[in-house]
Symmetry: C2
Subunit: 305 residues, 2 copies
Amino acid sequence: MNSIRIFAPATVANVACGFDILGFALCSPGDEISIEFNNLHKIILHDNTPYHLPLEAEKNVTAVALQSMLDALKTNQGFTITFLQKIMPGSGVGSSAASSAAGVFGANELLDKPFTRNNLVQFAMQGERIASGSAHADNVAPALLGGFTLVRSYTPLDVISLPSPTIYATVVHPQIEVRTSDSRKILRHEIPIKKAVEQWGNVAGLVTGLFTNDYALIGRSLQDVIVEPVRALLIPEFYTIKQAALDAGALGCSISGSGPSLFALSETEKTAQKVAAAMQQGFTNIGIDNHVFVSPINKEGTRVV
Amino acid sequence: MNSIRIFAPATVANVACGFDILGFALCSPGDEISIEFNNLHKIILHDNTPYHLPLEAEKNVTAVALQSMLDALKTNQGFTITFLQKIMPGSGVGSSAASSAAGVFGANELLDKPFTRNNLVQFAMQGERIASGSAHADNVAPALLGGFTLVRSYTPLDVISLPSPTIYATVVHPQIEVRTSDSRKILRHEIPIKKAVEQWGNVAGLVTGLFTNDYALIGRSLQDVIVEPVRALLIPEFYTIKQAALDAGALGCSISGSGPSLFALSETEKTAQKVAAAMQQGFTNIGIDNHVFVSPINKEGTRVV
């Protein structure tokens, strides 16, 4: 096996109450790359996507992630990677995480799996450092592992797969720019302990709901009283569109990652489609172009195509 | 059935990371009361314990909790309650919660169960208001329901039973006074968001560990980076004694409720006994009288004796 194609899925991080710790994977959209060995002892990149990805290895998230893995293996094996399909960068559904996951997963396959999927998270995180300035794992973990994931701790890194009930995500990406770095800058460094207690009550409720398939509990717990109220300021008519999603039957709705996309979760695909139409209409009403995805939870994560 | 005896267990609230939301019940110690109907249309109290409990209905936690339940039922049925056995007040293992739980549970039994156990939490909380100034539910919920419980939300009240793996609690009660109200006053109103994220990562980890019987994960998650560092100041040699518990094999150790008791959790009863000896020695070394309990998790909660 010298050349393989890899698909790495889009992901939703934060998941309302789970700021910086929870995420889940979508079946589509996703990144697709081909990856093969080369004898040049370096990472060579080709871009067949419309996004003009940086092709210098030290500026490309896929290459940075892969290089950290090769460094850990103390190998100078070269790889040639071609980007075939790409989640639109800056959409808030883990575009850089998918790129990072695809590279390390593909190389790990070609190298006969020196690492488990869970082990790969630490390397894929390094791509996130280039993309957003912080090596966060809440997108790369679900991108690699699939389903819902928990990043319990960074020191040491502790990534845990949570159960994923049959549930459907609606993601709407409005065509506005929200930079991850800005989106972090506006957060308060200090928060009221009362709000934090509400948040961790909801985190506990959401995890319990995932384990017990309790959709009502999942819905009650999909609340973010800390981050959403601040980041909502960056998304025009956020609360109107969120309410439209809930009125259409969504269990809950919040900001995907650091935005600008919104996500909602619904019990059935039919409801998720209704929710999609309602959210899309909300943005269209205020003249903001947008596109929408409906997807079940991707339980597999990154995979060989 | 005109007169019954009720046992309501001691409880550990907070459970490290789960400040104000998590709790679990012990098999012993506990409160024991007898309760029977009377025809006097009021709550009559008798105290057979050594604790000189207040016997005016409006100052007694059991009576206040029971009265709130009778008000909800719009009944003026009278009850006579005799306190037979009492957890030492102020020990930090839910003494007032057990008293509140016992009264409402007993009356509910005599009245042919107009309420579920879960419904009784809202009334038992009213006893806590008298005891500590706030109607918290994180002790009364496990006292009534048994096992590990989650108070996801107060508005509306949402109490959820979590699974309880076979696990043993060690509780050491040092003979020092820490008033719940003082213990709350020293907490900071604002906390760093970075610490809050660590905390809710651990909450999610602990809940996951309870569902998956993953003792190692339970141990890793039993960390409190928000409240314990502040309240530890009220307990002499807290960190020495915590370390002794961990060295003796405990999965984790923290402050029970608002203190002064410490709790530890261990995978086996044998380890829990070793942990008990180590913690007890820690307090004895600094000349603080103490007593210690070792108990499995009480899965039943409040019960008819």
